[in-house]
Amino acid sequence: MPQKTLLQAINDGLKTEMSRDDRVIVMGEDVGINGGVFRATDGLYDQFGPDRVMDTPLTETGIVGAAIGMAVYGLKPVPEIQFADYTYPAFDQIVSELSMFRYRSGGEYACPVVIRTPYGGGIRGGLYHSQSPEAYYTHTPGLKVVIPSTPYDAKGLLAAAIRGEDPVIFMEPKKIYRSFKADVPEEDYEVPIGPARIAREGTDLSIFCYGAMVELCEKAADKAAEEDGVSAEIVDLRTLYPVDEESVLNSVKKTGRALIVYEAHKTCGYGAEISALIAEKALEHLEAPIKRVGGLDTPFPYTLEYVYMPHPLRVYNAICDVMAFE
């Protein structure tokens, strides 16, 4: 089976979906001849031509808005927003138009647009190439929010997103775009939107995470296992909305302790929702207070990126805190 990076898996997924369905259109800034600034769309232009791989003018509201019109007509546009930080110029089109089209039209018009966008820090991108805006979109009814953390899931979740009937914000952890390779089947397959993945089974505490944080939590868990004999369960949420409540609650019921790790600003970040979910539905199973490790409540700094970002030691320390509570 071929080994691919997460980025190559996305490229593979786009090619697969475009080959099997001529409604699928890729569009965005520099996605055509240039193959995307991260090369996610590399080779698509040559294979499918400019009618299906559209280099667009530099306007995110235009890209998302035009994609909505295409979807209303019956196509399946997959626009790329070059960085998640630039979904904000398209924010109105995403939260007021894309997300509400089906609802406000009484079900007459669906908008199955999949917005792919690289997010998160770790590439020295400073304020405007590092943000993690997932909470804005999980807070918006009508959108699904998906974040893969492995090459296998990236291809499979992208397939499920494109084949589905709802708009999806498909956020790609750019820090791990090229950081490791793993098995990715040649043939097409879907990883369903919704279910979480138990990245590692454990019995002492549950770590809930997604995207680039999964790898980092694994490192922290290794250290906790080696040095403290802690058996951490790592739950890779994969889909943030609709979230797999059952997996979250089952894990907490098993371990009795919960740590949530995410790189967005801590306050009102997605981890707060997981924390609330556990508090509402599994409080009696908790043996320690829930703990969150998030990004700082500051804009994302350039030089001090390493201070802003959660890192394995910070997560390890949090694991120790949660385990220390008696």
Partner: protein, 368 residues
């Protein structure tokens, strides 16, 4: 006037030739269509003023912009409207019962009571659900037209928006996309000279808004928006141009919002009555009437009969609509997604278990 000014029925002129492609039956159909909108607006406003519906938008004085364009388009052309173009589906044959259902937001409303009145949606008439956000639909029409071009179909996508929307980001991105991709899209910039209270001269630094098109490489023309035949003619030509692969046209339909912005607005706060009175003289329905008179196809009996039919149609539909209740509570949870997520299902179930059967009191609240 410049070459870009389209007018057929000169105000006060003595005689006209029947424009190519139009029969007397077409003219009467357009005349009747405008009266239908006028009757609809009068009735909706009365319903709102008497508290039977919560809100309404009228289009007094702008009837020709809706009927002239609608008459020139094909039924399979896509319409992305703002909230003041409900005359278009009405002209395309939307059921009056459905139109009235939307005014009440009742269980029969195609928008399922989810939007304020004037945000109609009619997929069978390719009249795409409107937003309240100004100008956001313009780019949807462009995307739809890009899809039409991709599929090599000969439909056209059109969008309506006002002079206020010409300031919005999406106007810019839309014209820009249209200039680059040259899709079959028509931009109807209904310049009714007011965005709620702001007059057009404070909205933009240019007085002829169609000229904005040139900066994007898009064809632009200005049309007498109170001349239904001119609107028809200009739309027909622009649509043909689009179908021939020659790209987009921005049509500035120059008109005047005789009524208030909405039932919540009071125009006496920001404009002189004389100004409005002046534009009432240019009424598009009266103008068409004079034309029909000259062709000897108008009589007082004919006009009275048209009004009578419109009013009857409205009364029947409104009486019916008022008897239909609110949409069922569970419908509030539907159509958020293709399939209801389990968490939403649980939210619905909890609400129904706890609250179903409760009734609102006279204050519109659930009694504590």
């Amino acid at each position: 006037m410049s070459d870009n000014w389209v007018q057929v029925m000169e105000e006060g002129a003595a005689s006209y030739d029947l424009p190519a492609g139009l029969t007397e039956a077409d003219l009467k159909q357009m005349y009747e269509g405008m009266i239908m909108i006028r009757a609809y607006d009068e009735r909706a406003l009365k319903l709102q003023r008497s508290g039977r519906i919560g809100f309404c938008v009228t289009s007094f004085g702008e009837e020709a912009t809706q009927v002239g364009t609608a008459h020139a388009l094909r039924p399979d052309d896509w319409v992305f409207p703002a909230y003041r173009q409900y005359g278009v589906p009405l002209y395309r044959g939307a059921s009056m019962t459905k139109m009235a259902a939307h005014l009440f937001g009742n269980a029969d409303d195609s928008a399922k009571g989810r939007q304020m009145p004037a945000h109609y949606t009619f997929d069978e008439h390719r009249f795409v659900s409107a937003s309240s956000v100004i100008g956001s639909q313009i780019i949807h029409a462009v995307g739809c037209a890009m899809a039409i071009k991709y599929r090599k179909s000969d439909e056209v996508a059109v969008t309506y928006f006002g002079d206020g929307a010409s300031s919005a980001n999406d106007f810019h991105s839309s014209l820009n996309f249209a200039g680059v991709y040259k899709p079959p899209v028509l931009f109807f910039l209904v310049n009714n000279q007011y965005a709620i209270s702001l007059p057009v001269e404070k909205q933009t630094g240019i007085s002829e808004l169609y000229k904005k098109a040139e900066g994007y490489g898009v064809h632009g023309i200005r049309v007498d928006g109170n001349d239904v035949i001119a609107v028809y003619k200009a739309t027909r030509e622009a649509a043909q141009r689009a179908r021939d692969g020659k790209g987009a046209t921005l049509l500035e339909l120059f008109t005047y919002r005789v009524g208030a912005h909405s039932s919540s607005d009071d125009p006496t706060r920001y404009r002189e009555k004389d100004e409005t009175a002046e534009w009432k003289e240019k009424d598009p329905i009266e103008r068409m009437k004079r034309y029909l008179q000259q062709l000897n196809i108008w009589t007082e009996e004919y006009e009275a009969e048209v009004w009578e039919q419109c009013r009857t149609k409205l009364s029947v539909a409104i009486t019916k609509a008022e008897q239909i209740g609110d949409p069922p509570w569970e419908s509030a949870f539907e159509n958020v997604y293709a399939e209801m997520p389990s968490a939403l299902e649980a939210q619905k179930q909890e609400l129904l278990d706890r609250e179903s059967g409760l009734e609102l009191n006279n204050e519109g609240e659930f009694p504590l």
